[in-house]
Each structure stands twice: as C-alpha cells, then as structure tokens.
C-alpha cells in the first residue's frame, strides 16, 4: 500500500475523507487496507488510553461466507432472471407479472428443488417491480450471485455430481469417522 492510500485511510478515520480519497481506498488492496485500518484503530486507542475488547476481531471473512452461501441458495436462475429483467426494461410490464408469478415452479425439478427455488422468486419480485417503474433493475441484477449459480436443475451437471459423489464417498467413508453409513448419501440419491 502506498502513502497516498494510507493518508486517505487516515483521513477516513478522522471523518475527513473526500470522495476521491474514498474511491482510492475502495480500489486498493483489500487485505492490506483491513490490516492498516485495524492498526490505525489500535494506535488511536493507545493514544487515548482506551481499550476495546473487539479490537482483534475481523469478521469480514465470516460475513463474506454468509453472503456467498445466501446468494447461492437464492440464485437458482440467474440466466432467466437476467432475461426477465431485460423484458422489464423494454417496458413489458405485463410479461414481467406473468413470468414473475410463475416463479420457481416453472423451472423446478423434484419437490426439494422447488423448495430451494422459492427463494429465487422471492428475490426477483423487488428487482422487477423497480424495473417496471423505470427504476434500477440493472444495479439490482449486478448483485446477483458472485458465487455462481446453483446448477441443481442442470441434468448433465447433476449426473456428473452423482458420479463424483460416489467416488468421493469411496474415499470419505474411510476418513470421516462415519464409515459405511456415508454411502446412504449415494444410495438415497440414486433411488430418487
């Protein structure tokens, strides 16, 4: 991290960062920024003779993990979601309402998959609603799933997953402390 960024960070801490400085911080190396930010706080507290029990905590990785998990669960249909929002921008409000209300069931497989997809339709509505009134569909789409889509409905990928899971279980059963029971994961899948 260079001195300019460091100065910007210091300014941000004093609540005096300009917009330019803020942008500079946001585009700098994430990890270095986090360390520096923690260091700055630590030295300030030393100066002020305060102590903070949370000082060593960096919950960012945990938060990111939760976001990644959440978005995976909610992102069953990024592809068609994008298509849908395209329609919305073209002001086909009616089409949005029809497709939107068909929601997850349209692409659902087994009952379990449908349950997972319900999260999708729940998320789609707000984005479409704002698009319909000429709002921010694009930015709403931009947050969709950096973790990638869940491919549970892709038959090819599913077949591959089953084959891999079988091979994986051959190794896992000897090492996860559960033994033969682990094969229930494979067998229950094949009999679905």
């Amino acid at each position: 991290m260079n001195d300019t960024v460091r100065e910007s960070l210091s300014a941000l801490m004093d609540g005096e960062a300009s917009e330019l400085e803020l942008r500079r911080i946001l585009s700098a190396d994430e990890k270095a920024i986090r360390t520096e930010w923690a260091d700055l706080h630590r030295s300030q507290e030393l100066l002020k003779n305060e102590s903070n029990p949370f000082i060593g905590w960096d919950i960012s990785s945990r938060v990111m993990a939760e976001i990644a998990d959440d978005e995976l669960v909610n992102s069953g249909g990024t592809g068609w979601k994008q298509a849908v929002s395209g329609l919305a921008i073209a002001a086909s409000v009616a089409a949005v309402v029809v497709i939107g209300s068909m929601g997850g069931n349209m692409f659902g497989g087994s009952p379990q998959m449908v349950a997972e997809n319900n999260g999708v339709s729940g998320r789609v509505y707000p984005a479409q609603a704002s698009a319909a009134v000429g709002g921010v569909a694009v930015s709403a789409q931009a947050q969709a799933s950096p973790a990638g889509p869940l491919l549970n409905n892709d038959a090819e990928a599913r077949k591959r997953f089953e084959a891999y899971l079988r091979k994986h279980t051959d190794r896992a059963a000897f090492n996860n402390g559960q033994g033969m029971v682990s094969y229930a994961r494979v067998v229950s899948q094949e009999s679905e």
Partner: protein
Amino acid sequence: MLVRLASTALAAVLVSAPAASIESGSELLNRMTHSHRELNYRAIVTYQLGEQLSSYRITHTVHDGKEFEALESLDGDHQDLVHHGHDINCVHPGPQLIRLFNAEEEQGFYRYYDVDIVGEDRVAGRDAVTLSIKPRDVYRLGYKLSLDNETGLLLRSDIVNQQGKVLERFQYAMLDLNIPDDELLVDGAIEVEHKDVSLDNPATTQLRVWRPDWIPAGFTPLKDTDDGSAAISYTDGLAVMSVFVEPLVTADSGAVAVTEGGMRRGASVSYTVAFPDNGMFATVVGEVPMLTAKQVSKSLSWDQR
C-alpha cells in the same frame, strides 16, 4: 414432592457425572473412529435430508482380521452395497488426525474445531453421550454427534452449516451387537472398491500436473486415491473433500458442456470451474461449505511444461 424430584435428579447427575468425565471429547472421538470398524453389529439407520427420510440396514463384521460390510436400502428401489476384505489394520489419515492429537494441546484437528461434551442422550434404545463440534473458521461444517456409551459407535450425527442449520442427519433406530462374525458372506451385490495406491508411485505423480494452490489449513491429502491423475482427496479428520479433473473435450463424447457453478445436496456440495486454457474442468465435491468448494476449485493451477 418437588424436593424429592429434585434430589433424585441431583442423585442422577452425581451418579452419571463421573461416567461422562472419565473420557474427554477427544478420547470419545478417537473411540468413534475405530469402533465402527472393529465391532460386529447390525443396525437400522435413518438418513434425513430436508423433508426426505430413508432407511437402511447396515451390517458390519470382522472375520479373520478383515472387515465385511453391507448397506441395504429398506425403502424405494432395492439397493445393496457390500464392501469386503478390507484389512482391519489398514490405517487411514482421517482417524489418524484425530488419534494423534488431543484437545488439550490444541494441535492438528483440535486447532480447527472446538469439541465439547454437551450432554447425555438416548438413541436406538442405548445410552449415548453427545458431542458438539464447532468449526473455528468458515471453511468447514459443524457436527453434533451422539456416541454409544458402551462402544463409542456413532449413533446419531447432525451436520450443521455455519449458520447452525441442520443439513443432514444419520440416526440409528436399532443396534444389535450380538451377531456372528461370519454373518456376511453375501454374494451378488455391488462391491465397493478400495485400492491402495501409494503417492510415491512415480507413474501417478507424474500424471498429475495440476494442484489446488489453496486448501483450508488442516486438510491433509489422502494416500488411498485410486487414480492419481484424475482425482485427489483431502481430509481434516471429519470433513473430506475431493478434487476431480476431467478434459473438456474427450474422444468418445466430444465437447462437454460445463457451466461454472455449485450443486448442493444435504451436507454434500460440489463446485465446478472450467479451465479452457488447459482444456480441463475441475469439480470439488465434499461435505464442506460451498465457499470452500468454490475457493479450492478456483485455485487450481497447472504445471508449466
């Protein structure tokens, strides 16, 4: 009345407390990892995945120093799996990771999980002790395990995600420890293969030109990988994940359509990433959080040749 109830409860606690404190969490875990291989037993096990419940009969015997196992599905299509002739002395890295260390020293396995005895339970008509195993980082799942007091057998296992939600549950409904050791001379069922391939074999190490640049701390590669070129597995003692690599284009099936993304079923997830520059795609499968599968699959790199 209340007083009497309270005093009986207190007496029960006093009587049972020493029994629980004899073994620490790490001793219990250690017992769990080998008891299921050493005993003769037959059990009915249920496996629950969300709303779906299935049951299995599992039989395990040790005959002449070899393990014989069978898993038989009791509902839906008839499916049998047998696994036989596995040397009981064959050591696998997973149990070893638990055996070699103990909780007090905070080493190995115990650096990555907090293991606590949370109480007593009754599973399949047997007294059990319940362990809570919490991951210390975001790269593994949590476990709630109930182990048989007498034998250490795992009678119930909940795998929970980082948010505390139960992803899948195994639970014994019946356990019979009095079965003859020649019970399992089954024929006609699918054999579960287990090949021992040493990692030192130059032929296989030469074939594998890829590796993940990142795996979570505490995961160790398994040596019993059947084919060194196409897959490698890692374990931290409880969680196991495998990395599979395949060509994007094959002679017999042409180009494979690969979309980057994840799959989830119970505690098992997979994440697939294509590496077009190398003409390959990689899939990480395991009982780990999606974040772990994704980061490992994305970290794959190939040797420069």
